[in-house]
Symmetry: C2
Subunit: 120 residues, 2 copies
DNA sequence: ACTTTTGCTAATAAAAAAGTGAGTCATGGC
DNA sequence: GCCATGACTCACTTTTTTATTAGCAAAAGT
Protein backbone atom coordinates (compact mmCIF):
# COMPACT_ATOMS: atom_id res chain seq x y z
CA UNK A 1 0.00 0.00 0.00
CA UNK A 2 2.79 2.36 0.79
CA UNK A 3 6.53 2.09 1.01
CA UNK A 4 8.72 1.98 4.05
CA UNK A 5 11.71 4.18 4.66
CA UNK A 6 14.59 1.76 4.77
CA UNK A 7 16.90 4.08 6.66
CA UNK A 8 14.55 5.03 9.48
CA UNK A 9 15.13 3.84 13.02
CA UNK A 10 11.54 2.73 12.99
CA UNK A 11 12.24 0.32 10.15
CA UNK A 12 15.59 -0.80 11.48
CA UNK A 13 14.13 -1.65 14.86
CA UNK A 14 11.46 -3.71 13.17
CA UNK A 15 14.13 -5.57 11.21
CA UNK A 16 16.12 -6.11 14.41
CA UNK A 17 13.11 -7.68 16.07
CA UNK A 18 12.18 -9.81 13.10
CA UNK A 19 15.71 -11.12 12.85
CA UNK A 20 15.71 -11.88 16.54
CA UNK A 21 12.60 -14.01 16.35
CA UNK A 22 10.13 -15.03 13.66
CA UNK A 23 7.32 -14.48 16.13
CA UNK A 24 7.77 -10.78 15.59
CA UNK A 25 7.19 -11.20 11.87
CA UNK A 26 4.11 -13.28 12.47
CA UNK A 27 2.66 -10.81 14.94
CA UNK A 28 3.41 -7.94 12.62
CA UNK A 29 1.46 -9.71 9.90
CA UNK A 30 -1.43 -10.69 12.15
CA UNK A 31 -1.69 -7.18 13.50
CA UNK A 32 -2.67 -5.75 10.16
CA UNK A 33 -6.25 -4.76 10.75
CA UNK A 34 -8.93 -7.12 9.38
CA UNK A 35 -6.34 -9.69 8.34
CA UNK A 36 -7.37 -12.49 10.68
CA UNK A 37 -11.03 -11.71 10.14
CA UNK A 38 -10.54 -12.03 6.39
CA UNK A 39 -9.02 -15.46 6.99
CA UNK A 40 -11.86 -16.53 9.23
CA UNK A 41 -14.41 -15.21 6.78
CA UNK A 42 -12.94 -17.27 3.97
CA UNK A 43 -12.85 -20.28 6.26
CA UNK A 44 -16.54 -19.82 6.93
CA UNK A 45 -17.33 -19.94 3.26
CA UNK A 46 -17.09 -16.36 2.06
CA UNK A 47 -14.75 -17.23 -0.72
CA UNK A 48 -15.21 -14.27 -3.06
CA UNK A 49 -14.09 -10.67 -2.76
CA UNK A 50 -17.65 -9.42 -2.64
CA UNK A 51 -18.70 -12.04 -0.08
CA UNK A 52 -15.93 -11.08 2.31
CA UNK A 53 -16.65 -7.41 1.79
CA UNK A 54 -20.26 -8.00 2.69
CA UNK A 55 -19.37 -10.13 5.70
CA UNK A 56 -16.90 -7.63 7.17
CA UNK A 57 -19.14 -4.69 6.68
CA UNK A 58 -16.77 -1.82 7.44
CA UNK A 59 -13.75 -3.03 5.51
CA UNK A 60 -12.81 -0.91 2.52
CA UNK A 61 -11.91 -2.22 -0.92
CA UNK A 62 -8.27 -1.30 -0.86
CA UNK A 63 -7.67 -2.73 2.59
CA UNK A 64 -9.41 -5.97 1.66
CA UNK A 65 -7.39 -6.21 -1.55
CA UNK A 66 -4.19 -5.61 0.40
CA UNK A 67 -5.01 -8.18 3.07
CA UNK A 68 -5.87 -10.80 0.44
CA UNK A 69 -2.54 -10.14 -1.22
CA UNK A 70 -0.67 -10.47 2.04
CA UNK A 71 -2.45 -13.71 2.93
CA UNK A 72 -1.63 -15.04 -0.51
CA UNK A 73 1.98 -13.87 -0.30
CA UNK A 74 2.50 -15.76 2.93
CA UNK A 75 0.68 -18.79 1.55
CA UNK A 76 -2.13 -18.73 4.05
CA UNK A 77 -4.70 -18.63 1.26
CA UNK A 78 -4.75 -19.52 -2.43
CA UNK A 79 -6.38 -17.52 -5.17
CA UNK A 80 -8.20 -19.21 -8.04
CA UNK A 81 -9.29 -17.23 -11.06
CA UNK A 82 -12.09 -18.37 -13.35
CA UNK A 83 -11.13 -16.33 -16.37
CA UNK A 84 -13.59 -17.83 -18.82
CA UNK A 85 -16.49 -16.41 -16.91
CA UNK A 86 -17.37 -12.79 -17.11
CA UNK A 87 -16.82 -10.76 -15.17
CA UNK A 88 -13.95 -12.95 -14.09
CA UNK A 89 -14.74 -14.78 -10.90
CA UNK A 90 -12.08 -15.19 -8.25
CA UNK A 91 -12.20 -17.55 -5.30
CA UNK A 92 -10.06 -17.83 -2.22
CA UNK A 93 -9.41 -20.80 0.04
CA UNK A 94 -7.24 -21.46 3.08
CA UNK A 95 -4.09 -23.48 2.58
CA UNK A 96 -3.01 -26.16 5.02
CA UNK A 97 -0.78 -23.60 6.72
CA UNK A 98 -3.73 -21.26 6.86
CA UNK A 99 -5.86 -23.91 8.53
CA UNK A 100 -3.16 -24.63 11.07
CA UNK A 101 -2.73 -20.95 11.87
CA UNK A 102 -6.47 -20.59 12.22
CA UNK A 103 -6.47 -23.35 14.80
CA UNK A 104 -3.71 -21.74 16.83
CA UNK A 105 -5.54 -18.45 16.68
CA UNK A 106 -8.55 -20.26 18.03
CA UNK A 107 -6.51 -21.36 21.00
CA UNK A 108 -5.21 -17.86 21.50
CA UNK A 109 -8.74 -16.51 21.24
CA UNK A 110 -9.81 -18.85 23.96
CA UNK A 111 -6.94 -17.63 26.11
CA UNK A 112 -7.89 -14.02 25.42
CA UNK A 113 -11.47 -14.66 26.45
CA UNK A 114 -10.78 -16.75 29.50
CA UNK A 115 -7.55 -15.51 31.02
CA UNK A 116 -7.29 -11.90 29.98
CA UNK A 117 -9.27 -8.98 31.30
CA UNK A 118 -9.75 -6.27 28.73
CA UNK A 119 -12.68 -4.70 30.52
CA UNK A 120 -10.80 -1.63 31.72
CA UNK B 1 1.50 7.76 25.16
CA UNK B 2 -0.90 9.65 23.00
CA UNK B 3 -4.66 9.80 22.79
CA UNK B 4 -6.96 8.29 20.24
CA UNK B 5 -9.65 10.14 18.36
CA UNK B 6 -12.82 8.49 19.53
CA UNK B 7 -14.89 9.60 16.59
CA UNK B 8 -12.58 8.46 13.81
CA UNK B 9 -13.49 5.59 11.53
CA UNK B 10 -10.10 4.17 12.35
CA UNK B 11 -10.99 3.95 16.03
CA UNK B 12 -14.53 2.76 15.44
CA UNK B 13 -13.37 -0.07 13.24
CA UNK B 14 -10.93 -1.14 15.93
CA UNK B 15 -13.76 -1.14 18.47
CA UNK B 16 -15.94 -3.13 16.07
CA UNK B 17 -13.25 -5.77 15.73
CA UNK B 18 -12.50 -5.92 19.43
CA UNK B 19 -16.17 -6.35 20.21
CA UNK B 20 -16.43 -9.08 17.63
CA UNK B 21 -13.63 -11.11 19.16
CA UNK B 22 -11.22 -10.75 22.06
CA UNK B 23 -8.46 -12.11 19.85
CA UNK B 24 -8.38 -8.73 18.14
CA UNK B 25 -7.73 -7.04 21.46
CA UNK B 26 -4.98 -9.47 22.29
CA UNK B 27 -3.30 -9.10 18.92
CA UNK B 28 -3.54 -5.34 19.14
CA UNK B 29 -1.74 -5.48 22.47
CA UNK B 30 0.88 -7.96 21.32
CA UNK B 31 1.57 -5.94 18.21
CA UNK B 32 2.90 -3.01 20.17
CA UNK B 33 6.56 -3.03 19.25
CA UNK B 34 8.92 -4.54 21.85
CA UNK B 35 6.06 -5.65 24.07
CA UNK B 36 6.57 -9.39 23.79
CA UNK B 37 10.33 -8.97 23.96
CA UNK B 38 9.97 -7.03 27.19
CA UNK B 39 7.96 -9.92 28.60
CA UNK B 40 10.51 -12.47 27.49
CA UNK B 41 13.34 -10.37 28.84
CA UNK B 42 11.72 -10.21 32.26
CA UNK B 43 11.10 -13.94 32.10
CA UNK B 44 14.78 -14.49 31.43
CA UNK B 45 15.75 -12.60 34.55
CA UNK B 46 16.06 -9.00 33.47
CA UNK B 47 13.75 -7.78 36.16
CA UNK B 48 14.74 -4.13 36.39
CA UNK B 49 14.09 -1.21 34.05
CA UNK B 50 17.78 -0.78 33.37
CA UNK B 51 18.34 -4.53 32.82
CA UNK B 52 15.63 -4.71 30.19
CA UNK B 53 16.87 -1.53 28.56
CA UNK B 54 20.32 -3.04 28.30
CA UNK B 55 19.00 -6.34 27.01
CA UNK B 56 16.84 -4.81 24.28
CA UNK B 57 19.49 -2.46 23.11
CA UNK B 58 17.50 -0.25 20.74
CA UNK B 59 14.45 0.30 22.89
CA UNK B 60 13.96 3.84 24.08
CA UNK B 61 13.04 4.86 27.62
CA UNK B 62 9.57 6.10 26.93
CA UNK B 63 8.62 3.06 24.87
CA UNK B 64 9.92 0.72 27.55
CA UNK B 65 8.04 2.65 30.23
CA UNK B 66 4.88 2.48 28.15
CA UNK B 67 5.19 -1.24 27.47
CA UNK B 68 5.79 -1.98 31.15
CA UNK B 69 2.68 -0.02 31.99
CA UNK B 70 0.64 -1.90 29.43
CA UNK B 71 1.90 -5.26 30.65
CA UNK B 72 1.05 -4.26 34.19
CA UNK B 73 -2.36 -2.95 33.20
CA UNK B 74 -3.30 -6.23 31.60
CA UNK B 75 -1.85 -8.15 34.54
CA UNK B 76 0.83 -9.93 32.58
CA UNK B 77 3.52 -8.60 34.91
CA UNK B 78 3.61 -7.23 38.47
CA UNK B 79 5.64 -4.28 39.63
CA UNK B 80 7.35 -4.25 43.01
CA UNK B 81 8.86 -1.08 44.38
CA UNK B 82 11.58 -1.10 47.03
CA UNK B 83 11.05 2.42 48.28
CA UNK B 84 13.42 2.25 51.25
CA UNK B 85 16.40 1.87 49.01
CA UNK B 86 17.80 4.76 47.10
CA UNK B 87 17.44 5.38 44.37
CA UNK B 88 14.22 3.42 44.61
CA UNK B 89 14.61 -0.01 43.09
CA UNK B 90 11.76 -1.46 41.04
CA UNK B 91 11.40 -5.06 39.98
CA UNK B 92 9.09 -6.74 37.54
CA UNK B 93 7.93 -10.34 37.35
CA UNK B 94 5.54 -12.28 35.14
CA UNK B 95 2.16 -13.19 36.59
CA UNK B 96 0.62 -16.60 36.09
CA UNK B 97 -1.31 -15.20 33.12
CA UNK B 98 1.93 -13.80 31.79
CA UNK B 99 3.59 -17.19 32.03
CA UNK B 100 0.71 -18.84 30.25
CA UNK B 101 0.76 -16.28 27.48
CA UNK B 102 4.47 -16.70 27.14
CA UNK B 103 3.99 -20.41 26.60
CA UNK B 104 1.39 -19.89 23.90
CA UNK B 105 3.66 -17.39 22.22
CA UNK B 106 6.34 -20.05 22.28
CA UNK B 107 4.04 -22.36 20.39
CA UNK B 108 3.21 -19.62 17.91
CA UNK B 109 6.90 -18.88 17.52
CA UNK B 110 7.51 -22.48 16.69
CA UNK B 111 4.75 -22.33 14.10
CA UNK B 112 6.24 -19.15 12.64
CA UNK B 113 9.64 -20.75 12.31
CA UNK B 114 8.53 -24.10 10.99
CA UNK B 115 5.43 -23.51 8.90
CA UNK B 116 5.74 -19.96 7.67
CA UNK B 117 8.04 -18.65 5.01
CA UNK B 118 9.00 -15.04 5.59
CA UNK B 119 12.04 -15.20 3.35
CA UNK B 120 10.53 -13.18 0.52
C1' DA C 1 26.80 21.87 47.67
C1' DC C 2 27.19 19.16 43.69
C1' DT C 3 26.84 15.06 41.09
C1' DT C 4 25.11 10.51 40.21
C1' DT C 5 21.73 6.96 39.97
C1' DT C 6 17.13 4.85 38.92
C1' DG C 7 12.95 4.86 36.93
C1' DC C 8 10.52 7.26 34.91
C1' DT C 9 7.38 11.72 32.11
C1' DA C 10 6.33 15.19 28.62
C1' DA C 11 6.55 17.53 24.14
C1' DT C 12 7.34 17.06 19.61
C1' DA C 13 8.66 15.06 15.11
C1' DA C 14 8.85 11.35 11.94
C1' DA C 15 7.07 7.26 10.00
C1' DA C 16 3.62 3.80 9.16
C1' DA C 17 -1.07 2.23 8.79
C1' DA C 18 -5.77 2.95 7.69
C1' DG C 19 -9.55 5.29 5.39
C1' DT C 20 -11.78 8.07 1.33
C1' DG C 21 -13.21 8.60 -3.11
C1' DA C 22 -12.60 7.98 -7.67
C1' DG C 23 -11.17 5.20 -11.61
C1' DT C 24 -9.83 0.82 -14.47
C1' DC C 25 -10.63 -3.35 -17.43
C1' DA C 26 -12.81 -6.96 -19.87
C1' DT C 27 -16.76 -8.93 -20.72
C1' DG C 28 -21.88 -9.45 -21.82
C1' DG C 29 -26.62 -8.14 -21.81
C1' DC C 30 -30.04 -4.45 -23.30
C1' DG D 1 -23.34 2.02 -28.45
C1' DC D 2 -24.30 2.21 -23.35
C1' DC D 3 -24.47 0.56 -18.89
C1' DA D 4 -23.56 -2.98 -15.31
C1' DT D 5 -20.66 -6.22 -12.85
C1' DG D 6 -16.60 -8.04 -10.13
C1' DA D 7 -12.31 -7.52 -8.54
C1' DC D 8 -9.53 -4.75 -7.99
C1' DT D 9 -5.86 -0.03 -8.26
C1' DC D 10 -4.30 4.71 -7.36
C1' DA D 11 -3.63 9.24 -5.21
C1' DC D 12 -4.41 11.49 -1.26
C1' DT D 13 -5.76 12.63 3.73
C1' DT D 14 -6.25 11.39 8.40
C1' DT D 15 -5.08 8.82 12.39
C1' DT D 16 -2.04 6.14 15.03
C1' DT D 17 2.37 4.51 16.41
C1' DT D 18 7.26 5.08 17.21
C1' DA D 19 11.39 7.69 17.95
C1' DT D 20 14.04 11.86 19.72
C1' DT D 21 15.33 14.89 23.05
C1' DA D 22 15.12 16.83 27.25
C1' DG D 23 13.95 16.85 31.97
C1' DC D 24 12.46 15.37 36.94
C1' DA D 25 12.66 13.66 42.07
C1' DA D 26 14.78 11.86 46.06
C1' DA D 27 18.48 10.15 48.45
C1' DA D 28 23.47 8.85 48.76
C1' DG D 29 28.16 9.39 47.80
C1' DT D 30 32.17 12.93 47.35
Amino acid sequence: MAERKLNSTNYQNQVFLEEKCALNELIHLLSKRWLTEVMFSIEEGNVRFSNIKEDLKYISDNVLADRLKLLEKYKLIVRTEFAKESPTRVEYALTQTGETLSEWLGVLCNFAEKDMDFST
